[in-house]
Amino acid sequence: MTPPARRLIGPRTARATVRSGAAVLTALAAVAAVDMWAVTQARGRPQEPLLRGPAQLAQAREEIRAECMRRRGFRYVPFLSTYVNPIRRDAAEARARDAGEYPAMRRFREKYGFGIFALYAYPREFGNPQVETDAPVNPNNTIAMALSRTQFAAYGKAGDACYSKAVKMTTGKDVTSITDHMIQANERIDRLVTRELDGDPRLAALGADMARCLRNKGYSVPSGTPSALARRGPEVFHAEEKALGRAMARPAIEAGDLPDHDYFPSLMAADATPYLTREIRAALDDLECGRRFYRAYEPGHAAIVRRAYVEYGLDEWLW
């Protein structure tokens, strides 16, 4: 039996293989050359300072994020918003409220209550995201919305990793994402408040007076600690807001159109007015009972918030 003839690699096949290899190598060389040119161009551009003055840490963080995102293949525009909600634009008035001064707090509460349903009744003043404001749009929102679902998931992962790296480099804190960063800073505030304000005997005495007064007016006061007293009023209306949002979203959740989460209610200004009227009444009662308490509590609380935010490199959130 004759063995089958072996197919030899002829000059034609060898030429084709060499041509193919040369084409791929040339292509790779072209990719590398253009890439190096693009990187040089990108690095050569002068960097405009984002903010001058106290927000340099945040600026450094944004620049680290942008460089990190570039290495991971995504566009990121360093962005720090200097936008201040209209409600905080009268800086002297806002500072007076933070200092717990009765006239300023009363002026606020007479119009906005605790500031919960005012988000719907005065959406522009409180920066409700459902209305257009004069706030500058973060260019990274446009970038994120221009990605496919899969790219967006990769962008989210890269964004968290880069944010975490930037926070570590600028503050030394270990965080996993922006949300985690905010949670950690707020937990730090809670710990400081518990240690420094809840343990203050003068505040405890003023708080006891306030709690007694509120109970006399028919309000439920579950805890008499200073921080719990300050949170009590807003928490009652936050709970109402949350329940309302959940009731509004229930049909869509049950139909499977929305994930089972808490949602903000969709309220027009007119719809929010009855809720706000009740909230204003409760807020004024709360202020009347806590007039002396807030004068002592608010400055300490504002100082703790400032300290924690500076410690966590979130000073751009202070206004």
Binding site: T13, A16, T17, R19, S20, G21, A23, V24, A27, L28, A30, V31, A32, V34, D35, A38, V39, A42, R70, R71, R72, G73, F74, R75, I143, M145, A146, L147, S148, R149, T150, Q151, F152, A153, A154, Y155, A158, D257, L258, P259
Partner: protein, 315 residues
């Protein structure tokens, strides 16, 4: 060769109409056919009868179909399908040429290599550009600093590169081209050169990725011409399949259509799983499904007609 000025009226018309026939056929039988036509033209009309003219054009087209149907059907069908995929893959990148110049150029070289029949070269280039496309659709950096999203150049006004639909369909377009070329490379046979006219389809497919292939923007003449060309080519595939009793055009159409079908299936799967599909996804609507239905129907018809047709003898 006779000078055109020396031609009589009917002869000039017959010579013009005979251009419907392939060049080789004209060289072999052209003069004989002219002589026969002039001889049978009893009434001495300056212009042939429309019926006669139509018969000549149809005969020429049939001759071209039979000529194109020579050689192994599957290899030629795969090559034609890969050519169309190379046109589509290049078209997707054209509006982003300033952001991804090297990849667009490589896709153009790939199309050139495919049309010239340089299978191995095209295979390497498809693997390279396909690898980059995989990286882009998954959002991972690879080889160079292509930053996502890749926005289109000013004149095109196209959405960002591969921002619609899932990752499977764009990768399928390259994977199919790669597999087709790998099969052709394993075959070791010569391939015919494809016409340069395929390059004319590139501007029509500019920015059209598999997920947006089925969408037809209202009021866009480019989209209208593209859809018209698709339908014309598929109708031609059905007709040629019937005349030549050959499935190669159906095979090519199926290969070229596969990424759009994958994109549609992917859209259906993801739209059920993701509430954010309206922002980041693609979901086929009634118009897209109707468009796909027509394309699939014509492809099936092109595949079915050779089963019932006998190869027509030429004249």
């Amino acid at each position: 060769m006779r000078r055109p000025t020396a031609l009589t009226g009917p002869e000039r018309w017959y010579r013009w109409l005979l251009r419907a026939y392939p060049r080789e056929y004209r060289a072999a039988h052209g003069e004989e056919m002219i002589a026969t036509l002039l001889e049978t033209d009893g009434d001495g009309r300056a212009v042939p009868w429309p019926r006669e003219a139509l018969a000549l054009v149809a005969g020429g087209a049939r001759a071209r179909a039979l000529g194109a149907g020579r050689g192994p059907a599957w290899a030629d069908g795969v090559h034609l399908g890969v050519t169309v995929l190379a046109v589509l893959n290049l078209g997707v990148l054209v509006p982003y040429a300033r952001s991804v110049p090297v990849w667009t150029a490589l896709a153009a070289v790939t199309l050139f290599a495919v049309t010239r029949g340089w299978v191995r070269t095209a295979l390497g280039l498809v693997a390279l550009v396909g690898g980059k496309v995989l990286a882009v659709v998954l959002g991972h950096p690879w080889l160079d600093q292509t930053l996502l999203p890749v926005f289109s150049d000013g004149v095109w006004n196209a959405p960002p590169l591969y921002s619609r639909g899932g990752p499977v369909a764009p990768v399928a377009a390259y994977a199919l081209a790669f597999l087709g070329l790998a099969v052709l490379a394993a075959r070791h046979g010569p391939l015919r050169r494809r016409t340069w006219r395929w390059w004319l389809a590139v501007p029509l497919t500019a920015g059209v990725d598999p997920a947006s292939w089925l969408m037809v923007e209202s009021g866009s003449p480019r989209a209208a011409v593209r859809v018209g060309l698709e339908l014309a080519l598929l109708c031609l595939a059905v007709w040629a399949g019937r005349v030549a009793a050959d499935p190669r055009w159906a095979l090519a159409a199926a290969i070229a259509l596969a990424p759009a079908v994958v994109a549609c299936l992917e859209g259906v799967t993801t739209s059920r799983a993701d509430v954010l599909v309206s922002f980041h996804g693609f979901s086929a609507g009634r118009q897209e499904l109707s468009h796909l239905g027509v394309l699939v129907l014509l492809t099936v018809a092109a595949a079915a007609v050779p089963l019932h047709a006998r190869r027509h003898a030429l004249l």
